[in-house]
Amino acid sequence: MQRRFISGAAALAASLLGAVAGQAQPQPVPPEVSVAQAGVARETSTTPAPRGLDGKPDLSGFWRPIRVPGKPGGNLGKDEPNFVLPFSEAGKRAHVYAQNHTVDPEAVCVLGGIPRHNGSGLAFEVLHTPGRLATLYNYNTHRFVTIDPNLKHPATLEPSYFGTGIAHWEGDTLVIETRGLRDSSKDKIWLDENGDPTSDQTTVVERWSRPNYHTLQLSMTVTDLKYYTRPFRFDRTWTRAEPGQGLGEYACNESNSAVENIGPGAGVIGPDGNRGFGYERKELPSTPPGPEAYENVLTNE
C-alpha cells in the first residue's frame, strides 16, 4: 500500500513538473495517474467520431472534464442563479439533514451514484457496446446502462445508487433515462459533491453525443419534484484523453477503519458555488500528502 502510494505521488509530481518545464523535453505521460487533470476543449476538431457495429457513435474512451472559469465544479446548480438549486420546502429539510447527518458517501467508499458522477471533476471512462454501456469511475465503481428502444422501466424498482438506466438513440444522441434511485433523507446518497439532496422520485435524463473524435457532450435534465420546485438542466463537455490513457485501480476501502473519524456534510459552500475545504478555504495541496499525513488517523483505531 505504501509502495503504491509513494509511486503514485511521485508520478503525479513528475507529471506536474512536466506540465511546467517539460515542453522542451516531452516525457511519456504516465498512463493512469492523472485522473484529476482537466481536459482542453477540442470542439472544433474535424476528426470524426468512431462508429460502433450498429453504426451509431461509439462513446467509448477516457474522458476529461473541461473546466469553465467562474463555474463551480461538482455542483449541479452551476447554471442556476447564485449556483443554488430550486429547493422545495422538503428539499431544504433534506439538504439540512444531509449536511448534518450524512458523511460524504464517496468518502466512505459508497457508490457515488447518478447524477453525482456527471458533475465530478475527475476523468471517467466509457465502455460502449451496442446493447450495453458502462461508465466507470475513479473509485473503482461503475454504472451500467441497457440500450434497448423497446425496454421500459417497470412500475416498481429496487432502489439503487446508480438507479436503473435504460437508453435509446435519437439520431446520433444516446438518451439515457434513469429511475429507481435512493433517497438522501434515508440513504447514503447525494445529488452532487455539495451535498444537495436527491429523492426516490428523481428521474435523470442524460443526452450524450460525440460530435467529433475528441469531444463528448452531455445535456442532462434532473426532475425531482419532491426536493426541487422544477426540473433543472446541467450541460457539460469532456475531451478525449491521450491514446493509451485510461482508468487504473483505486483501493477505496483500505483505510476503512478511519471512517468514523469523518464528519458529516460537504462543508461550507462558498458564494462561488464551490464546496469548501475547511473554514479558512484552504486550497488543496498541489501534490497529495505522504503517508505521514495519515499517521494519526491510522494509529487512532
Binding site: 467509448s60 467508499c109 471512462e125 457496446t129 485501480e249 476503512n256 468514523e260
Partner: protein, 310 residues
Amino acid sequence: MSAAAVGALLATAGVTPAGAQTGKAAEAVILGQPYQGPKVATPRDAKGKPLLTGYWKLLHEDGKPDGNLGKDQPGFVLPLTPAGQAAAAANRKTVDPEARCLITGTPRLLTSVLPFEILQTPERLATFHQLSWHRWVWLDGRKREPDEDPRYLGNARGRWEGDTLVIESTGFHDSEDGNVWLDDNANPISGDAVLVERWSRPDFHHLNLELTYTDKRYYSRPITYRRSWVAGAPGEHLKEFSCEWNTPWVVKHLEPGPGAIGANGNRGFGPDNQLVPDLPLGAVSGNRGVGYWLYRTNKPKPSDLPKKPD
C-alpha cells in the same frame, strides 16, 4: 466468492424478505444450465475477432469445489512451497479481504461461483463482477511496464492468438500485506505472480477459460485451471451491489481465515452444504451488504452486530 462463502445473513437473523431464495432456487438463478438449443455463431467485431461481451453463468462441475484454484489439482490442494505455506498460515489469521470490502483480485474473481459480465471494445475490455468490482484489460498491444504499480487485479494486457484472447497479468499485491488472497480458500498470492488467461467463445452460448498461474515464490510449479460458462438469457445482466458494511466491527471482530477446508475442497460450508449463496446476495438491506457471507454455525455473524462498535 466461494460456494461456501454463502450469505445466510437473513436466514441467521430469522428474517426472510419477500423474494429471498435459498438452496435449489438460488442455484437456478445463479448457476448456468447446459445449453440445449441450436448452435449460434460466435459474434465478431469489425476485425473479425470474437466478441466476449455478455452475461456469463458458471457451468458448475459436480464434485469440484468453486472458489478454490486447486479445483483441478490432486486432492484439490495447491503445491505450496515452504514460503507459500507460511503465507497461507498468515492469511488464515486475517479477516477475509472480501469481507472488508477490499477489491477482490484476480485470479480469485475467476474462481467465483457467481455470474459475471464482459464488455469488449476494440482497445479496452472489462470484466464486471459481484461486489461492484471490475477488472480492466488493455487490448492495444502494449508491453509490460518495467515499473508497474502493484494492484489487486494486476496489470492486464490482452492479445489475440487466432480466436483465443490471451490475457497476461503481472504486478499483483502480495498476501504478505494482509489484504489479498489468491482464492476464497485463503491460498496466498505473491508479487511475483504471472497470470495467463486464455479465453475462447466457440459459439454464441459458451465461454471457456484456461488459466495458468505461475508463482515461484509460493508454489512449486505452475497451476492450471479450466472453467466454462454459458450465456445468460437475453436481458439478464449484472445487478448493482454496494459493499459498504466495512465497519470497524467487521474489520475487528470477524473470525479470521476461510474456515475449515473440507475434503471436497470447499471452504467452511454450512449444514446445507449449498453450492451458491442465498439471494438477495449478502443482503443487509436490499442490494447493500457486506462481503462476509460465510455460512458457519457457532461463529459470529454480521447479524450478531452489537449495538455500537467499541
